[in-house]
Amino acid sequence: MNCFTKLLTSTATLAALSAPAFAECADPVKVGVLHSLSGTMAISETTLKDTMLLLIEEQNKKGGVLGCEIEAVVVDPASDWPLFAEKARELLTNHEVDVIFGNWTSVSRKSVLPVIEELNGLLFYPVQYEGEESSKNVFYTGAAPNQQAIPATDYFLDELGVEKFALLGTDYVYPRTTNNILESYLKSKGIAEEDIFVNYTPFGHSDWATIVADVVKLGEDGKQVGVISTINGDANIGFYKELAAAGISADDIPVVAFSVGEEELSGLDTANLTGHLAAWNYFQSAEGEANAAWVDAWKAKMGEERVTNDPMEAHYIGFNMWVNAATAAGTTDVDAVRSAMYGQEFPNLTGGTAVMLPNHHLAKPVLIGEIKADGQFDIISQTAEVPGDAWTDFLPESAVLKSDWKDLECGMYNTETSSCVQIKSNY
């Protein structure tokens, strides 16, 4: 039985190709990579697995961490959300990894949370997400809504003078929560309720003619219309094709997307989309030596046609911070590393420095890019570093909540009653 168990759960381990001589290392350092390599999310997550392997390879060339070679343990949760929990448990109990880098969708994160918290693991989550969550065991290196959605909306309001908003999204948690936050934010900025049009479509939606016509119709009262798109994945292709067919230029109705990056644009002919926008914390076109080196390393490993994107930068920062924190703590013990993470600084690929905050979010700059004909983005706006906020200030229930794992030791602290609502996260 034991043999069978091992057979069933043992996982391909990948060692670095050219490792320098490592010092005596009693306890090997293991990094779990929990990204779907098959199923619907493989399209996005496989890239992140490769990113992690590249980062680990480069770190091993530099001598690993704490004198040990880093060993990557790659598992495939196959875009199956319950399987994420199972694989996370396997990583933590069978493989005894020191840290996990993984997940893309919110639902997969919610699936993993109870396991990670039960077994006191450490997870680095690299994707922009809806916030409203704070776990002691998760570092959120992607953007919180105030690091992506709110600045992009401000850009619409201030720079493009948009007065009427169409919030289009795929029907799942990230768009729903983000749009809820945006709705209440827009109302606080004096946009009337009837000037906010919200629409949700299923994953992979392809029939966009009616919705695009609805958006055009919004302009009939003479207000400047703008679209905020949280449309996910493949559905974007049909959406942008329909947009182009309807002859909607970015000057008439600008579209800002939160889920469309370099990777997604590679499936599209962008000639008709120039000028539409995306908001991220990173674009491949960012100027700077660190970014150039990173892009070169990526292309050298994966091929010239491959692009880099925002979640990759999140892993880049997250992994390097973890290495530094482990070095500072002198151990890979989760609690020690967690304490050492607070205040960790690491240079962003876009310039400036990312700082890990006590609420487990990063302070990162927000970039807004215009789509260019070659599928890259022209960065037209870059803010100073914005600290990530776990609980949004624009929903009444969340405005009173605060996350501080350093001093308050609580991720859901009610500032009004000065009490900790719960220690575990709300999955």
């Binding site: 098959s38 619907t40 493989a42 399209i43 496989t46 850009y155 201030d158 720079e159 493009l160 003078g161 029907d171 049009f197 919200v198 629409n199 949700y200 479509t201 299923p202 992979g204 939606h205 392809s206 029939d207 003619a209 009616t210 919705i211 016509a213 609805d214 055009v216 119709k217 302009g219 009939e220 009262d221 003479g222 207000k223 493949d234 292709i237 049909g238 094709k241 329909e242 182009a244 067919a245 309807a246 002859g247 970015a250 000057d251 008439d252 600008p254 990777e263 590679s266 499936g267 599209l268 002919d269 008709n272 000028g275 926008l277 807004i368 215009e370 022209d378 960065i379 037209i380 706006s381």
Partner: protein
């Protein structure tokens, strides 16, 4: 070379070169706003540039708008630049001298969309009468985006000299809009407004609604304004509005009451009541009233207070425009427009439904043929669609001309999927003819194998299948009714296939034999027809059509390994609802599902997913009442 370059550079930076009519000093004065412009602050800079009267200003604005202006890092001077060999080719803004410089020394100025628009507006006056047609068009577009009354004179003046007929009409249109909104006298405005009546362009509707902008006003007497009507709101909302505008006391929320009570707890008691007993709203209200009576908290707003306030105050909607004659004319025009818009929207919805119908028809017709003729459910049908789409993609890799590649891709997709279909029929399906439920499983196995194979070969990313240029854009009837050419092409394709299949089935030997095999395979066999061959060919034909449908669907949506599964259930339902074994039935099924889906979407526009759920529920119910579909085979041919 290097020395020459240096000389030019020194020339460029020489302060002596700065002459009175130079633009650079003015730019340097506003350096920050030009290098990092923002829409709200760029106005004064634009005014200064335009107001300077310098001839270079227009060119600078155009280049600035086109992201062709660069700033030199070391001294902050601005240049025009284009990428050339070995770096950037700089052009001095004033002298026009050029030089090449390392790209790292320069920073590109990238004004954002809002600023570019503002620049465009500033350029209007230069460009309205420009000899260059594109410049004039740009000016008119910029003006249309922001109707600026100050430009009315210039616009009117430019009309007489306009040589391009279309642009002239456009300019006249804009003059009408400007007059309707900002005309000097009510008479001219009303005249302009009247010409807009019944024009359903979005722009026109925008102009009318802007004339008819209202605000709310609450007064105790008849307001002294251009009243549009009274506003009747639900009780709470109406009172909330009064609270906001008339400084009436706000009703206390349960939360506020709780906090007030908590603040007044003394020794476990509030206003004489034990705090522990305050676990109902009623108890809390009583305690709070006692608290209020003792003056420790403001009194609650009672229901009668609200009723009284609502009785004394009336909430009006008033037009921002003070002239009732103008607003009345605009209102009449708007009503006329709205009727037309409603009609057009229905027409547009019908077009969308028609388009969806043709897509469903194309996706399902191949399935209908195989299902009808052989009673076999082909779960891999969706994968044949995908195969066709990938064939299109591969062809585009080899043939860069999109038109030619499309012409090649369509028959090739047919050939590829025809071959795949025949292969599958020979290898798998023919062994299972008397076990229909098992074909379902076997073909499902083929389906997941094909899907995964596609992933292994093409990767999981969506692949581009780009339509030729002549299919870009949309056929525009008016601003409401429009349909993209690609959808029209799919519609035409669907019609072609309908005709072709009808011809094959009704007019050819193959069709005759197919129908014979459909109705009674044994009898057909005894008449000398080889049912094996017929089944093979029909299966190939059905699969081949799926391949062509794949190219069409790929053109309008996306090409991924999972695109087949998006269509498979819809296709099944189309076939089942329509009735098996009948092309007209499939058409009826596709029309029903397409129309229904659009209809439900129209009723509930904010949720497309709900539309799909309701549609499936409807289909389930429909099949209960017509289990054999809309067009059912009758008599012996019906099988069981």
């Amino acid at each position: 070379m290097l020395r020459a370059l240096l000389t030019v550079l020194t020339l460029l930076c020489l302060p002596a070169a700065v002459l009175a009519q130079d633009l650079q000093p003015l730019l340097q004065e506003n350096q920050a706003q030009i290098a990092k412009p923002s829409r709200k602050k760029v106005g004064p800079v634009l005014d200064a540039l335009v107001g300077s009267g310098l001839p270079q200003a227009q060119e600078f604005l155009e280049k600035w708008q086109g992201k062709e202006v660069y700033q030199r890092q070391e001294d902050g001077l601005f240049f025009y630049a284009v990428k050339g060999d070995g770096g950037l080719v700089l052009t001095d803004i004033d002298s026009g001298e050029t030089a090449t410089i390392d790209a790292k020394a320069m920073k590109q100025i990238k004004p954002n969309g809002g600023v570019r628009k503002a620049i465009g507006e500033a350029l209007v006056q230069f460009q309205l009468s420009s000899p260059d047609l594109t410049r004039r068009q740009e000016a008119v577009t910029a003006l249309a985006r922001n109707l600026d009354p100050a430009q009315l004179g210039a616009l009117e003046a430019s009309i007489s000299g306009e040589t391009d007929a279309a642009l002239k009409a456009r300019k006249e249109q804009l003059v009408t809009y400007l007059t309707a909104r900002f005309g000097d006298t009510p008479e001219t405005r009303i005249a302009a407004i009247n010409t807009l009546s019944g024009d359903i362009r979005v722009e026109t509707r925008a102009v009318l609604s802007q004339i008819l902008t209202t605000k709310t006003l609450s007064t105790q007497s008849q307001p002294d304004a251009n009243v549009a009507g009274t506003l009747s709101l639900p009780r709470e909302e109406a009172y909330a509005l009064l609270v906001e505008t008339q400084d009436l006391p706000a009703p206390l929320t349960n939360d506020v009451i709780r906090k007030a009570l908590e603040a007044n707890i003394e020794g476990g008691k509030v206003a004489g009541v034990s705090a522990a007993s305050l676990n109902t709203i009623a108890a809390r209200n009583t305690a709070y009233d006692a608290l209020a009576a003792s003056g420790k908290a403001p009194a609650r707003v009672s229901e009668s207070d609200i009723t009284q306030a609502l009785a004394t105050w009336t909430i009006y909607e008033v037009y921002e425009d003070p002239d009732p004659a103008v607003t009345a004319a605009a209102k009449a025009a708007q009503d006329a427009v709205n009727t037309k818009v409603a009609v057009s929207q229905t027409a547009d919805l019908a077009l969308d439904a028609l388009s969806l119908t043709s897509i469903y028809f194309l996706a399902a017709i191949g399935l209908a043929i195989t299902f009808g003729v052989m009673g076999v459910i082909n779960m891999a049908h969706g994968e044949f669609i995908m195969m066709g789409a990938y064939t299109g993609y591969v062809v585009q890799l080899f043939i860069p001309n999109y038109t030619v590649s499309l012409i090649v891709a369509l028959p090739l997709a047919f050939a590829v999927t025809f071959a795949a279909g025949v292969a599958m029929e020979r290898l798998v399906i023919r062994w299972l003819y008397n076990r229909p439920l098992e074909t379902l499983l076997a073909t499902f196995g083929v389906s997941i194998a094909l899907q995964q194979l596609a992933k292994n070969i093409f990767g999981t990313q969506a692949r581009p299948l780009t339509s030729p240029g002549w299919l870009d854009g949309a056929l525009v009837f008016n601003d409401v009714i429009q349909i993209s050419y690609i959808r029209i092409a799919i519609f035409v394709l669907a019609l072609l296939f309908l005709a072709l299949l009808l011809f094959i089935l009704k007019r050819t030997r193959l069709g005759l034999e197919t129908r014979a095999v459909t109705q009674n395979p044994r009898m057909a066999a005894s008449m000398g027809i080889n049912p094996d061959r017929i089944k093979m060919l029909t299966f190939g034909l059905g699969s081949g059509i799926a391949g062509i449908a794949g190219v069409a669907i790929g053109l309008y949506a996306k090409v991924t390994s999972e695109m087949g599964s998006d269509y498979i259930v819809q296709s099944f339902m189309t076939v089942v609802v329509g009735g098996v074994g009948n092309i007209w039935g499939t058409l009826a099924g596709a029309s029903m599902i397409g129309t229904l889906q659009k209809g439900i979407e129209w009723l509930n526009p904010s949720n497309t997913l709900a539309a799909q759920t309701y549609m499936i529920l409807f289909i389930i119910l429909f099949i209960q009442f017509r289990p054999k579909g809309i067009v059912a085979l009758k008599g012996r041919a019906a099988g069981d």
